[in-house]
Symmetry: C2
Subunit: 155 residues, 2 copies
């Protein structure tokens, strides 16, 4: 079960990490092109959270590529423990950031607050990408937890 | 490991379920006493999500009490599978609801939107209780996933 799809060091694992990275980067890009995003704490928090995810997923994509090229199995308990903690922290932060930004975006849509209405589609795109990014990181987090709990590790 | 703290049918499991139920009920109570909560989608969503959690946690608390009184072990694969799905769905919805409401509450605090400012402490109390409730349901969800993945089940 060492090469179960999505586990570290597999091609599907690499695809998951790269998609997390791209979706989070897309979310940041869409948010920063909006003119007034910095006025809203939730949107700044979304950028910070997606920034953390880009950094984390990029590091793990790099590690996956290294493991694939060198044909190494990187399922040792310390590494998998670190992956689990990192994935769960980033997944929780991403969901919270996406949900809080979505709350604000829905408020903008419902009530005429008279600010930044031209930016609303950019906010919506950014939030959608953040939710998609959360789905991919959550998938990774569940796979990591499964490896840790079932003991598919090299001691 | 059948009586690991927090597993279904244990006293700690029952305490977790009852605290989920009470925190979610407290969150709803605090929100509905605010005069204008119904104007904001995120707050209505918080009430719906906390309502679902009260219902779910109450049902599981009842099941835990039954198992404790009758001294039955309720770790069969179908039941634990159901608990995992229910716990993960309610935990995700609770976090999303608490985060989106928190986004709105922070916006109210920062910008003078001229509406319902007397209600802000009630919103904040409701959101804090919702976050605490999420911590307890997430704990239950992790324990359930651990039972499912490690195969501590009766077939």
């Amino acid at each position: 079960m060492k090469d179960f799809p999505g586990t570290p060091g597999t091609f599907t694992g690499l695809v998951l990490r790269v998609s997390q990275c791209l979706l989070a980067a897309g979310s940041i890009a869409s948010m920063v092109t909006a003119a007034c995003f910095f006025r809203y704490t939730a949107f700044c928090y979304l950028i910070a959270s997606m920034g953390l995810q880009v950094f984390w997923s990029f590091a793990l994509a790099w590690l996956d590529s290294y493991a694939l090229v060198k044909k190494k199995i990187i399922h040792n308990p310390i590494l998998v423990g670190l992956f689990v903690i990192g994935d769960w922290v980033t997944a929780t932060l991403s969901l919270a950031a996406a949900a809080s930004s979505a709350g604000i975006a829905v408020l903008f849509y419902q009530e005429d607050l008279g600010v930044c209405h031209n930016d609303c589609p950019k906010y919506q795109m950014s939030i959608s990408l953040a939710f998609m990014s959360w789905v991919t990181i959550k998938t990774s987090a569940l796979i990591m937890l499964w490896i840790l709990f079932t003991g598919n590790l090299i001691h």
